[in-house]
């Protein structure tokens, strides 16, 4: 096992997702402790002291986000768990929703108490069926046990929850797009400032956190910030759930203590690459994070600081392993089709830029690439950067320039020879 486990710390059985099993694991003890012994500001302090970073992509400190909310400003506040999980390569929140939904609910109750939230929401992607049913059942169990509703566990604290289903839009996973969607509109992201913690859902202060970020709260309250900081590295406390896919023998969701050696994780825990192939590159955390080559990652640890130093990020934890023999031109074409399809179209650079990137890749793959297409791809990638409302435009550019930086020769080859160096192959080949 890659280090200590805080969220996946029990064997999954036919009943382990239910309330009785969760209670038997000590579940809802952190809520009782919170309501019985802690003031709301103590909870915010503890979470801030833990150094917990967001697990949705940007690794923004959870405590710092929470501190913006003024407990007693006389307005309603809202909390939303982001369960949209749309970043390609990412399927780790699904593990929590399916196998440990109560840890999310308990954590949301604690967060709601801390932030003076009367109504909280889980925004779950529309295609998720089993994760939705597991979560909805857990909500019913929790209501029946008096864990939601009025005067929870006999305290003054009351809180309700709604599970809200999306309807198919990647951009609705972006926090402000999510809020538009939860208001029953198309999922258009909004310009900031104002921050969502100042004006969010229906113009009220709103905290949006990723499912996994929130799911750490119960553990932090039970065990304390110091215990949390003792897990992981000083700059990356705790663990992260990685969803591993692509060319790998044992794909799946793994909880990894931050600071764990990356190659050891891939070789020992994930069983290495099929057919004994070498790693060509890895998408570290969802396709919006820059790829790193096998050589780049050889001595890296899985921590925010190591990834930042290497020019990438742990992002959403969606790790895609790519074996030698894979055509990066074809892979980038898939990615650019995705961003083009998902751009909401509000910002000109993103609307046109993603379309141009997609069409240029289409023509390179078709053998009609032009000599200056690589420069053109770079130019468009840069021109998105920082000029758009949300991060989707930027992400498309990073994904594109990231792959070009590392594998420029393959694109040159494809343009010059009018065919892919690797036959356009995306699968893991048996023999070389």
């Amino acid at each position: 096992m890659p280090g200590r486990q805080l969220i996946m710390s029990f064997p999954v059985t036919a009943t382990s997702h239910g309330l009785p099993d969760y209670r038997a694991r000590g579940g809802y003890g952190a809520l009782a402790k919170t309501l019985g012994q802690m003031k709301p500001q103590d909870v915010v302090k503890e979470v801030t002291a833990s150094g917990l970073q967001g697990r949705g992509g940007a690794a923004f400190a959870v405590g710092r986000k929470w501190q913006v909310v003024q407990y007693d400003d006389g307005q309603p506040h809202y909390l939303i768990a982001n369960a949209d999980e749309g970043e390609p390569g990412t399927f780790k929140d699904r593990w929590i929703l399916e196998n440990n939904p109560h840890v999310l609910l308990e954590s949301m109750l604690i967060a709601s108490y801390a932030l003076n939230v009367r109504n909280c929401f889980v925004y779950i992607r529309g295609e998720f069926d089993l994760p939705y049913r597991r979560l909805a059942d857990a909500v019913e169990e929790a209501y029946a046990a008096g864990l939601f509703g009025r005067n929870i566990l006999g305290s003054d604290f009351s809180c309700d929850i709604v599970v809200y289903r999306g309807a198919g839009a990647y951009v609705a996973g972006e926090a402000s797009g999510l809020i538009s969607s939860l208001e029953g509109k198309k999922g258009y992201p909004r310009n900031r400032p104002p921050r969502l913690t100042v004006r969010g859902l229906y113009q009220r202060p709103t905290v949006v956190n990723n499912v996994e970020s929130l799911s750490n709260i119960a553990w932090i309250i039970s065990n304390g910030a110091d215990a949390f900081k003792a897990v992981g590295t000083p700059k990356s406390p705790g663990t992260r759930l990685f969803s591993v896919s692509g060319h790998i023998n044992r794909p799946g969701v793994y909880e990894v203590e931050l600071g764990y050696p990356w190659m050891k994780f891939l070789d020992e825990d994930c069983g290495g690459v099929p057919h004994g192939r070498a790693i060509k590159c890895v998408v570290p955390g969802g396709v919006s994070s820059k790829v790193l080559t096998g050589a780049d990652i050889a001595n890296l640890k899985l921590s925010h600081e190591d990834l930042w130093d290497a020019g990438s990020t742990l992002g959403s934890g969606g790790m895609i392993v790519i074996a030698e023999g894979t055509c990066m031109v074809a892979l980038l074409q898939v990615l650019m089709r995705f961003y083009h399809h998902e751009s909401c179209g509000q910002c000109t650079p993103c609307r046109h830029g993603t379309g141009w990137l997609h069409r240029i890749l289409d023509r390179i793959v078709a053998g009609d690439g032009r000599a200056d297409d690589i420069e053109r791809l770079y130019y468009i990638s840069k021109f998105n950067d920082g000029t758009t409302i949300c991060g989707l435009g930027d992400a498309a550019g990073y994904a594109c320039s990231g792959i070009l930086d590392k594998f420029r020769d393959e694109f040159e080859y494809c343009i010059e020879h009018k065919r892919s160096k690797f036959g356009g192959n995306l699968e893991c080949l048996r023999s070389s």
Partner: protein, 154 residues
């Protein structure tokens, strides 16, 4: 949609006061489950019921990929063709189904049984390749598995 109003009233009770607009997505989902798609009359009636502008509902319907304005086949096969699925043979399984059903993504078989689509990552990359059949996920697809599955869909 009128017969669904009692359900919608119940749904409304779960939301805080003033959140009528938020009911647009859940109500449309329910209407689509019921009718198979969302009709013009549904839009008009829902706008009145929730007190939201009709244009908001129309925008929602065109923005999200899961909503439909027209009926489709009884079985909706949606193949993921994003990175991890493509890296594990998605094109291959898709081509097999295209051949078998004689249709391309975006089309419905003449007997109205199957509609084929391609979709972007469905959060199931570790069990690639995968597809959705109506609401359910089918993972780790192989050609044999697909053949068996299609046989069972009448």
């Amino acid at each position: 949609m009128k017969h669904l109003v009692p359900e919608f009233e119940k749904l409304r009770e779960r939301f805080p006061a003033g959140f009528e607009s938020s009911l647009v997505l859940p109500c449309l989902r329910r209407i689509q489950e019921d009718r198979g798609y969302v009709a013009d009359s549904d839009i008009e009636e829902l706008a009145v019921f929730l007190g939201v502008p009709q244009i908001q509902i129309e925008e929602v319907l065109s923005f999200y990929t899961q909503f439909r304005r027209k009926p489709i086949g009884r079985w909706h096969l949606q193949f993921c063709h994003n990175v991890s699925c493509s890296m594990n043979g998605a094109e291959n399984v898709l081509a097999h189904v295209e051949r078998k059903l004689g249709i391309k993504p975006g089309q419905t078989t003449p007997d109205g049984r199957y509609t084929l689509s391609t979709v972007e990552c469905l959060g199931s990359c570790g069990t690639a390749p995968m597809m959705m059949v109506n609401d359910g996920y089918h993972e780790n697809l192989t050609l044999t598995k697909l053949d068996e599955l299609l046989q069972g869909l009448k």
